[in-house]
């Protein structure tokens, strides 16, 4: 079974991941990943079993409660303006 990581596929995954992998690092990254993917490839098929349910998630009541103040939330941002995060524009 083919388990090598195609470099074009890895470039595409990197774009989807929001990562820039330099060309000279791509081959090594692909090789490292291929070794791990080979382990996954070798996972045997198991008969579909009834998953033992974890305890159900207990959602809290839908009640309004104090939240963290906006200014505190903005304090870690590199750039803010008038109470908003600043990001590069998507359009001209």
């Amino acid at each position: 079974m083919e388990t090598g990581i195609d470099l074009d596929e890895l470039r595409h995954i990197a774009v989807l991941s929001g990562l820039k992998i330099e060309e000279e690092q791509l081959a090594q990254m692909a090789e490292d990943m291929a070794a791990i993917v080979l382990m996954m490839e070798n996972l045997p098929d198991v008969e579909k079993v009834e998953s033992t349910p974890m305890q159900p998630m207990i959602l809290r009541r839908d009640e309004v409660a104090p939240s963290i103040p906006r200014d505190a939330l903005l304090e870690n941002a590199p750039r803010t303006r008038q109470g908003y995060f600043v990001a590069p524009g998507a359009t001209d």
């Binding site: 991941s17 490292d32 070794a35 996954m40 045997p44 098929d45 974890m54 959602l59 600043v86």
Partner: protein, 482 residues
Amino acid sequence: MKWTHMSAVRLAAAVNNKEVTARELARAALEHIQAQNPALGAFLAVDEEAAIAQAAAVDACVARGENAGPLAGVPIGIKDNICTRGLPTTCASRMLQGFVPPYDATVVERLAAAGAVTVGKTNMDEFGMGSSGESSAFGPVRNPWDTNRVVGGSSGGSAAAVAVGLVPVALGSDTGGSVRCPAAFCGVVGLKPSYGAVSRFGLVAFASSLEQIGPMARTVEDAELLFRVICGRDVRDATSAEYVHKPVTVDIKGMKVGIPREYFGIKMGEAVRQSVEAALRQLEALGAELREVSLPSTPHALAAYYAISSAEAASNLARYDGIRMGDAALAGNTPDEARAQARSAGFGPEVQRRILLGNFVLSSGRYERYYMRAKQMQAQITREYIQVFETCDILTTPTVSATAFPLEQGKRPVEAYTADVCTMPASLAHLPALSLPCGLDGDGLPVDLQLIGPRFGEGTLLAAGRAYEAAVGGFAHVEVGP
């Protein structure tokens, strides 16, 4: 009096009984950290002023004649992926360098309510991804038993700090072994609780369906005390369970202790094998009934773990875009460019590798083949454990198959991942697991034994741990410096 070598239980009693003040304990810890941390790299941030202020509040409480809590004045280290208001929380990553949370994690709130004094944030593998303590963006943590060796990860800073007595107890987090592995390499006690036993609110997410915050200490009693304080239902974490921990008295005589043959069939250091086998004989001498059991899917846990944890990590770390937190110097002409620049500069190579791996296994055409099969294997592993616990009270295994290896050994990733082969299965099955010192190898490096319990069986697990610790007369501690 050498307060820095006393247990948390003893220290809290001393503060509540006015034998010592919380401020004295805080100063002693801070001085010890100042002296030893440069050689170890255990702490990333120490806030002296805040620690003394917190200690002063504890002292005021005692002065009013009130009980200041079960952890009164106890200095504690917090792993740097757990949010602490006003104290940086970097996850040992450049991506979060300078990030100061505006809130405390639930576990931090509970520790403060119990009287504990946070002295600082401990070093770790970046975003919890690593088993050696070498993947921190701010320098590796060094093993106090031999500073040319790794400390284990990812909670390496907490393990080293506790081993040396910089603090008597610390918090780590464990996704596939990140409390237990450094506990083993540093010869301390580490507990990975059952999934859901401890709130994850304020724990920076890596693999949300697997990770748990856990205590690290030099005695089982201290680990249990810390666990009792931090565990339990939290409305802010929907996955937290209605769990209240009460210490149980369980007679180890007659306790059915399973020995899974698959854990002992792996390549293992001879010193690890001998120490663990000696520990098994000790349990038997205490009256435990040892029995061989089988967990046949154990060899597949590694692959299943990396598929699931990487997939979750890729999703969880997608939030880091350099816009809501990050470096103002990084810019790009478009949002995508800015995001890629920030993430590539902010994340180290191991984190980037896991993100790529995670998105790979989740991608179209790969999802059913890798991610879904991994989830099926997880269900299979869980079922096997449930069956084994029908006839056993606890299981015993080595925690790690080797002792601490030299720094900068340059292992390839897949080789490094195999360090967690004994710890991953319990994580996948959401079970509690306790790592206990059980010996030293020929180089004087620690070996730990792992006890695994049924889900929410921490009472039995810790009772067995206490019995073992009492039988061996306590655990050896490393002495560092004057």
